[in-house]
Symmetry: C2
Subunit: 333 residues, 2 copies
C-alpha cells in the first residue's frame, strides 16, 4: 500500500507538493502537477482517510442520528439521505438512538471521538448544551423534523396538517371525531403534540365540542393504537371518524375497526399522517409530508455547508397535503 511519501519519491518532489496536488491547491506548477498525477496513477495510490482525518482533526464522513430506526417514516427519510451523500462520495455513519442514554452518548461521541465533518439529526431536538458543544467543535449541523433557533432545519407545519385532516372529516359531515395519538416516550420529537393541537383547533373553529374521552393517547405503535381505538369505540357515543397522529397508528385504528366488523369508511372514517409507503396499498387517507424529499433536502443542505461555509441558518418549511384515499368518506346513512 503506497503512501504519500512513495508518490513524492516517484515523482521526485516533496510530500507537501503531493498533498497540494491531492487537495487542488492552486500553488502548484502545471508540469509538477502532471508529474505527481502520473506517479499517483502509476502506483495506484489512494490517500488514507484515516491519516487524513487525524491530521485534519475531523473525519470526512457525516454522522446521521436517528431515533426509532424501525419506524416507517424514519426509514423513508433515510432513503432520501443516504443516496444523496453517497452520490457525492461521502461516507455516512448511521447511529440509532432510542434511549436517553444512547442519545447522550451519541452526542458525546460525535464531538469527542468520531468528529464527523457534518451532523444530520432526525426528529431530535438537541439540548442547549449539546448545541453549544457542537458549535464549539465547529461541526455543521442540520436538523430534520425538529427545530432549534440558529440552526438549519427542515420541518413541516404539523399543526396545520392535522387541522387540514380534521377539516377534511368535518367537510364530510362528521362531527363525532376522535383523536388517537402517541405520547412522548424515549427519544424523539413529539410531533404528536402540535398535531393534537391542530385537531383541537379545527374542532374549536368549527364549533364542535370534543369530549375528553375522544382524545386517546398511548405509546407509539400499531398495537398501542389498536387498544386506544377499542377504548374510544367502546364509549356510549362512539365517534364516526378518527384522526390518527401517524400512519402507523392509523394502521392500528384500521385493524381495530376491522376486528369489530366496522365498515371503513361507512361506519368509521380514518385519516392518518405522514403518508408512509404502505399507506397507498391500504388505501389510507392521510396527510402527506415529503419524507424522502425532506431527507434529501437536508442532506443537500449539509453538503452545501461542508463545501462552502456561509449561508445563515434558516428553517425550511416543507409542504403538507391532505391525500384522500379510501378510508375517509361520509357516514353511512
Amino acid at each position: 500500500m503506497p503512501t504519500i511519501l512513495d508518490v513524492a519519491r516517484a515523482a521526485g518532489v516533496g510530500v507537501g507538493t503531493v498533498s497540494r496536488v491531492l487537495n487542488d491547491h492552486p500553488r502548484v506548477a502545471p508540469a509538477t502537477r502532471a508529474r505527481v498525477r502520473e506517479a499517483i496513477d502509476q502506483l495506484g495510490y489512494r490517500p488514507s482517510s484515516l491519516a487524513r482525518a487525524l491530521s485534519l482533526g475531523k473525519s470526512t464522513s457525516v454522522t446521521v442520528l436517528v431515533p426509532g430506526l424501525t419506524s416507517a417514516s424514519v426509514g423513508m427519510r433515510l432513503r432520501g439521505i443516504i443516496p444523496t451523500f453517497n452520490e457525492s462520495d461521502r461516507d455516512v455513519q448511521l447511529s440509532n438512538v432510542d434511549t436517553e442514554d444512547q442519545r447522550t452518548r451519541a452526542f458525546e461521541a460525535v464531538v469527542t471521538s468520531s468528529r464527523p465533518a457534518g451532523l444530520l439529526v432526525i426528529s431530535i431536538e438537541p439540548t442547549a448544551a449539546e448545541m453549544e458543544r457542537i458549535r464549539a467543535a465547529e461541526i455543521p449541523l442540520v436538523l430534520v423534523d425538529a427545530a432549534v433557533a440558529g440552526t438549519h432545519s427542515f420541518v413541516i407545519d404539523n399543526r396545520a396538517g392535522a387541522r387540514a385532516a380534521t377539516q377534511h372529516l368535518l367537510d364530510l359531515g362528521h362531527s363525532r371525531i376522535a383523536f388517537v395519538g402517541d405520547v412522548v416516550s424515549g427519544v424523539g420529537v413529539a410531533s404528536a403534540l402540535p398535531r393534537k393541537a391542530g385537531f383541537k383547533a379545527a374542532m374549536q373553529t368549527a364549533g364542535v365540542a370534543v369530549p375528553s374521552d375522544y382524545i386517546q393517547e398511548g405509546p407509539f405503535g400499531r398495537e398501542s393504537a389498536l387498544q386506544l381505538t377499542h377504548r374510544v369505540l367502546d364509549l356510549p357515543q362512539p365517534p364516526t371518524a378518527i384522526v390518527a397522529a401517524t400512519d402507523t397508528m392509523a394502521l392500528g385504528v384500521l385493524e381495530a375497526a376491522h376486528s369489530r366488523g366496522l365498515a371503513v369508511p361507512g361506519d368509521l372514517s380514518v385519516i392518518g399522517f405522514d403518508d408512509i409507503d404502505v399507506a397507498p396499498y391500504v388505501g389510507l387517507s392521510t396527510v402527506r409530508q415529503p419524507l424522502e424529499e425532506s431527507g434529501a433536502a437536508a442532506a443537500r443542505c449539509l453538503m452545501g455547508l461542508l463545501a462552502a461555509e456561509g449561508s445563515e441558518p434558516a428553517h425550511t418549511f416543507l409542504p403538507v397535503e391532505v391525500v384522500v384515499r379510501a378510508t375517509t368518506g361520509p357516514t353511512r346513512v
Copy 2:
C-alpha cells in the same frame, strides 16, 4: 480537549501506561490503574478514535454495503443490523451501491481508504478479486443473501421457497400458474434465478406443463410487474394463479388484477416472496424469510469475528415458510 499526554502528566505516568489502561492490558499495577482512571475522569478525557484508527491502521467502525436501499427487503434487513451494532457501541458506515461503478469504488474504498474493522455485505457476491483484497487487508467479512466459498454467509434456500409457494398453488387446484420475476439489473444477487428454478421444478414434478409465455421477466419493481402481469393476462389462456419472485413485484401483480376488475383470489391467486412489512396489510400470501433476523444474525456473527478471531466460515441457512393470507385460494367455480 485533553489528550492522552495530559492524562499521563496528571496521573504522573507515561503515555504508554495510560494506553495500557485504556485497552485493559493486564500488565498494569492496580494502584497505577486506579490513578490513571481517576485522572481520566477528572479531565473528562475521551480517546480520539481518529488517532486510534491511524495508529491501528484500521477504524473501529464496520461498513455495511447494500444495493437498492430503497427496496423494502433491504430496509428490513438494515433494521436488524444497525441496532445490533449500535448496542455494542460500534459505529456503522452505510454505503448504498446501486451501479456497477459504485460497487467497484465501494470495495476499493473499503480496502484502501476507510479500512473498517469489519465488513457486512448484503445481496452482493464479491468477485474473486474483491475477496482476495479483503482477505489480504484482513477485514472480517460476513455476507447476507449471498454466498461465496470460504466466507461466513446467511442465506435462504430460494429454490425450495419458490417450490413451496408453487406447491401451495398446486394444492389449491391451480394448474395454469405463471411466474413474474425480475432480471438482474445493476448490482445485486439474482435471487430471482433460483426462485424461477424452484417454480419450474415444482411444476415439472407435478407434471404440469408451463407455456413459455407463462414466464415473464422484467426489471425489478412494482411498476414493471404490473406490465408483465398485463402481458400474461392478455394471453388467450390466461393463468389462474401467479407466483411473483418478490413481494414488491407481487404488489404490481395485485395492482394489475385490481385494475382489470379481477377478484383475488377468486379469479386470480397471487403469492409473493420475502414477507416485507406491507405484506400483512395487503393480505398477501407469501414465502416468509426472516429479513430482520437475518440482518441481526449477520451483525452478531461479524461482532463475534471482531471480538475473538477463529470460527471457520460457514453458510447458515435460515428457514423459509409459506404464509397463507388472503390472496391465494381455489379458483372460483
